[in-house]
Symmetry: C2
Subunit: 155 residues, 2 copies
């Protein structure tokens, strides 16, 4: 089975990337996980022009990754808060952190370290199987058509 036969749209990576498939968008989301909420905070973190940052924040609100919430009335000011949908992008950001730490680190070592507060250890998360709890090795994973693809293939 080739992807081309089944349509670009029936692919969760492709769909996910239609929302977050832009370098700046992922950096905005990373900043939000590190505590940024206000336009000026994102701008200071990322160094993007007002116009481009505004474009991306608006698209992320439209895509329901952020909600825009008024936090001050005089003058009116808004902040951008991650929605549940946005918060669930955390694993995408952390797997990028992990890869960057390992393969793109400079001489100085890791830029950031992470404490898992519930157990107190300094950790880097791992992707595991929820059934057998083993760490995932790509070679152990078999991709098969799911319901959406089966329906397409059958008719």
């Amino acid at each position: 089975m080739r992807w081309a036969d089944i349509g670009e749209d029936v692919c969760s990576v492709s769909r996910a990337l239609s929302v977050v498939g832009d370098r700046w968008t992922l950096l905005i989301i990373r900043s939000a996980f590190l505590g940024a909420r206000r336009f000026s905070e994102f701008q200071k973190d990322i160094g993007l022009t007002r116009h481009r940052l505004s474009d991306r924040l608006n698209k992320l609100v439209e895509d329901q990754v952020f909600e825009k919430v008024q936090y001050q009335s005089n003058p009116v000011r808004y902040e951008y808060r991650l929605t549940d949908r946005g918060k669930e992008l955390y694993p995408v950001i952390m797997t990028l952190v992990k890869w960057g730490d390992k393969w793109m680190a400079g001489d100085g070592g890791k830029p950031m370290e992470y404490e898992h507060k519930s157990c107190g250890n300094n950790i880097m998360p791992v992707l595991t199987c929820p059934e057998c709890h083993e760490e995932i090795d790509p070679h152990d994973m078999k991709a098969m058509p799911g319901p959406a693809l089966q329906a397409l293939m059958n008719g």
Copy 2:
């Protein structure tokens, strides 16, 4: 501490995105995990023009995500194989799949399903703590400056 104070470059997400921060690049890597190796296979999967696909594959070879290996001599033909560095992007792809499955699914359900061959279950991987084995909740993670940032902050 604000990111802007410490320099954009000392950030693993930013560094990782300098390699994979492009929608098409991530789709190319996804295709590789689904078995594509040859130029024509990537082209069929992704539907990108020859010129643009060639650009991105060359950059991925330069960035050591793929190695370009000759598989035929007459005429000379090459294929693109994921390096170890490339294979370790699997968690990034799978976390995107998971998010897309949950938040961007159409009416038809999941496009693909995944069997963990070593235990035989149909699963979707979870991000867990390697110490206490709990699933990671972003609220339980505390980000702290690592060695590279500490060095920068100290002068």
